[in-house]
Symmetry: D3
Subunit: 250 residues, 6 copies
């Protein structure tokens, strides 16, 4: 059963597309296709560290989700650890599943360990992410957030420096805060989980890999058993007439 | 100390603007100005019952917030009980305060009573609103949500019918669910709080009045004591250079 | 619409009355009157650091609340950060609203920021205050309590020393505990919020100012919309006959 | 090891003293003495259904607690299911333990079952009691409150009627709300637990018996192992000098 | 990448083995092998409705888990919705992952919907299962438990009757309790999810299918990324010497 | 009223039996008999630091509980701070009460203080114990766990060393984590509470004494008032026929 996934880099830059395409190709299932898109090229945010940046590109993101279902994708992945507009994306998807990094990482982390810490770039990110941890139900499993004073575009600049900071933060999380699983809280923190894991001896969940695997899982149970997002309440789709009349997601 | 507030009807219709302008003029403080705007006239959602509709007009909403501060407003009120994009709006506001109906109603209701029910139009709305009740800290004060099978545009169609349904739902909330305060969970449920309150004998909080009064309160403490939104973490403003370079909120 | 507020210093000393009178006169609305009283002069507690002291002066406090309504006050403010006997005070008030410092500060702080720390005098105070933070719904927003080893009557002795300790504690709260709003957890910690705020760059909520402004807010919505304390359950007034027969609050 | 307990009926009536004396004599340990007092005879509340009544007699209550320790009692029991001024009573007690009905009933009920309902007289009582259930940590074990439309002085008027209402409420609690333990939420609901228990087949905890037995337990571990209330934080005693100077609890 | 899973029917009967073998063969991935075993044939519990039955067969269960890893299985699934001894099973597994029905169903259900109800056989089962729902973090997503007055061995006796009762309970969960996802709370409730789902229009999660799919997912991320159970704290393996010396799991 | 208690050392060693017999004889009530047994002598775990060890000896433990009731014991105490198989033990007991160290210590500690820390041997133990703290309702009262790097069999080796480490950990708990009550989180941490208490000035609850006293308390209220474990839901006994047919607990 082939699976067709779309990873959406919700930035106005295709800077990471090629890398993601290559990296995700390595970790997908054999019969899965993972396509990677970013938002329509135009002047605009190249990262989403600010909630106001999220807002400004959400319509493009949502249109990308809509288009994904029309083009036959089985799942869309919103490639930002804030899990932006997850409810909206599920609303407009009729059968397609939608997931996102924090959701995927947290479900995995709480199955693998009992106390997790999240390594983020900046302190600024924490309140929005903490809100999500609580919303998903994992407040009691949260040992700490650790910030390493780096922006989204810093992680891949000097790999040694990034790794050094991540190790320091993760070690503190494990030794002082009581974490036994680490989550990397940004999709652009890719490429480090393996070294960290080797060094720390606890699972380190990568925010770009996790949602792809979770999406494959969700697609499979959706196709086989009809277990898709419930369309009764929060994820109920808007009426076709309104959507068409307003040409909303075209 | 004059206060300049902007009520933003986050819809692509000015249908309610005039009514809100008149109604809010009656309830504001003497030295307050409450202006009412809706989003730029164009084809688009005339209500926000769906999260995907919220998303599509958020950039316009955010621009309206941005413009409000530039035009000298002291506060912006996002006129939808989902309290959409509150974090983003606070991020981009440097000094101006921003509030929204659910936040305002819930802070008031939990000061006035000990157990509250929220009367909404449709069951569909509940998950997003419940999420907010929990986020704000009021899960333990929530007696119930009651839905009266009406959409945003139905409330003002047949006032008798609306009032009848509201009374039935509110009475059930009070008598069976243990509520001692009622919150009307949509800004377009205006005009009914007084009759309900008379009949039920408990406070009934109106979602269009509450945020205006809460905004006046916040503006006053902001101007007098510098108590505005903390700019340290979640509400930190994005860097000017990026915003300017991307012409983001123009 | 004039507002008549009564600030009750719940101590057997008028030591702070004059200062509060002057300070609150500066921060009130133009058409507000804030009167300040302390409890009937007699030997008794001059501070409420102990719950047993609270208890001993509660009847006087409650009588002061009762008298306030009879004398036409629109609101009574119980001037202690333990928010003593708030339910009782609301019970015996028929129309008058009653508020208190912790309630006011916490509603404000959670609207302005996402994580708050409370600076108290002694560790002894924390359990009762923490109980209130949880009761009001703000457990998840509480970063920490910090104690600066000072009693109620120490704060105003050596302003430099007090400020020094407050700065140290507040800085630790912000930098280590993740707070982005500070609350000063005693009404006698007045006079410091402004310097702290300047230095720290986050809102610092003063426990004497906040409840006065919150009271003005509550009075306004009470008078205009009838939004007073719900008299249905916990705040239901005792029957007149019993009260009169027992000459209870005379 | 003899134990000397004082049951304090916190009312201005000795109406129930004799009955309590007789009833508690039957259920105490052989070497326990349970004395029963009510507050100094004077005009005043003969029940505590209102929080404002509690407040007015608290000083007398606290003095009774203070005197109890001076007279050599090992424990004082505050005989009201609101558990009034428990912290204050523990503060002023140096070695003596203090407990109260709700605390005792809830610790027992959550050890015996997994889901409890509390049968109260009036809906008015619920918010204050619910607050205590949450404060003690048992929110997740609370199935429901049931009110049977009776005041404190009604329970013992017509035993058949009272029992009938209690059975109806308890049965509903067990069958509809999922309770598997029942707590009688007023000390004056005495005399019914046995019949209810027989009929319902689940434990029914009596609010006058439970705190006496819990007090005996606490006294024993206090005397033998020095396990009394921690005097470090919330229960720290006020300084002797202040207490003496103000002649506070004399 | 072939996956080798072992489904353990934790009963002293092979009554369901053949059926599970056939059913799971239909829903597994092509390169997965799902073997099914029950516990060593001997007199003993043929169902686990009682916690005391669980206890009595836990050693056999744990040995089955141990043997599974030795025989090269990639995952063991403990086939009971109480998720018995999950921590112990993860402790003794060095690399193999272990999961169980409630864990799997709840992670899926909370990803697909926002409010779930669990259909169980008897009221007796609820406390243990509710404890797990809370433990996993999903208390806020739990709409209700519904019991249909059937034991484990009743579900497959009269399919029409079972389905009738399930439909009634599930409909009530959806319409009255606000559920938008249904979970079938027993592995022997197999065979009904599809009809229920068709009728109700919301996802109905089957407790025998869900853990197999979740196990496949966990195996894949374990093999590919080394994301297995954290061995640092709660899942740390016991020392070999002790295990060998005591011949513990042989 | 004589009380017959059985302390079950749930290990395959009688190493501690004699000591417990002597120590518990000193702290029991005069008319109480406390017998001490360990599990049938055979090769097997001599401590329960691992959940997998718990599992392997649970059937023997459960049989010991069953036998206890048959032999006329009024209470069984499961002598391990993980409180293993408490539900199962209550299920199979018809009238006899069952308790365990964590339950007893936590109910006592939360009555004596407001914030508790638990001193454990190893970090490994924390997740299972923390789960229990949350399950019993005391999450909000938990200041911290402290581990002193000792196994069960280390505590009694070098008393000075053990005491030194305990003092260090407890002091940190009190001074840094805000604890005002200490709980010793292992039954084999006996013999130290008194010195610690003297030194720290806060109650230090011993995990071997506490459950015996709590058991005496529970026995008394069970015998006098019929307040035993509710047999309605989670503690419902399995049907005799099944138990007999399978010769389950013989």
């Amino acid at each position: 059963m082939g699976k067709k996934l779309l990873w959406i880099n919700p930035f106005k830059t295709d800077l990471f597309d090629e890398t993601f395409r290559n990296e995700l190709a390595k970790i997908k299932q054999p019969d899965t296709v993972v396509d990677v898109v970013s938002l329509p090229p135009a002047l605009g945010p190249t990262h989403l560290e600010y909630s106001s940046y999220e807002v400004m590109i959400m319509p493009d993101m949502l249109k990308a989700v809509k288009r994904a279902e029309e083009e036959g994708y089985d799942a869309a992945i919103i490639g930002c650890f804030y899990d932006p507009m997850l409810r909206a994306a599920r609303e407009i998807s009729k059968k397609m599943v939608v997931t996102a990094p924090a959701e995927a990482c947290l479900h995995i982390a709480t199955t693998l360990g009992e106390s997790l810490s999240i390594i983020v770039g900046r302190r600024k990110w924490i309140p929005e992410m903490k809100e999500n941890v609580h919303k998903y139900g994992f407040a009691d499993k949260l040992a700490s957030f650790k910030h390493i004073e780096m922006g989204v575009h810093d992680f891949q600049k000097d790999h040694d420096e990034t790794l050094k900071r991540m190790k320091f933060a993760a070690r503190e999380a494990v030794e002082k805060d009581g974490a036994n699983v680490i989550v990397l809280g940004c999709t652009v923190e890719f490429g480090f989980y393996h070294s960290l894991q080797e060094e720390l001896g606890v699972p380190v969940i990568d925010a770009s890999i996790a949602p792809v695997k979770y999406a494959e899982f969700l697609v499979e149970i959706n196709k086989k058993f009809g277990w898709g997002h419930s369309k009764l309440d929060g994820y109920q789709s808007p009426p076709e007439e309104e959507v068409n009349h307003w040409k909303l997601f075209g």
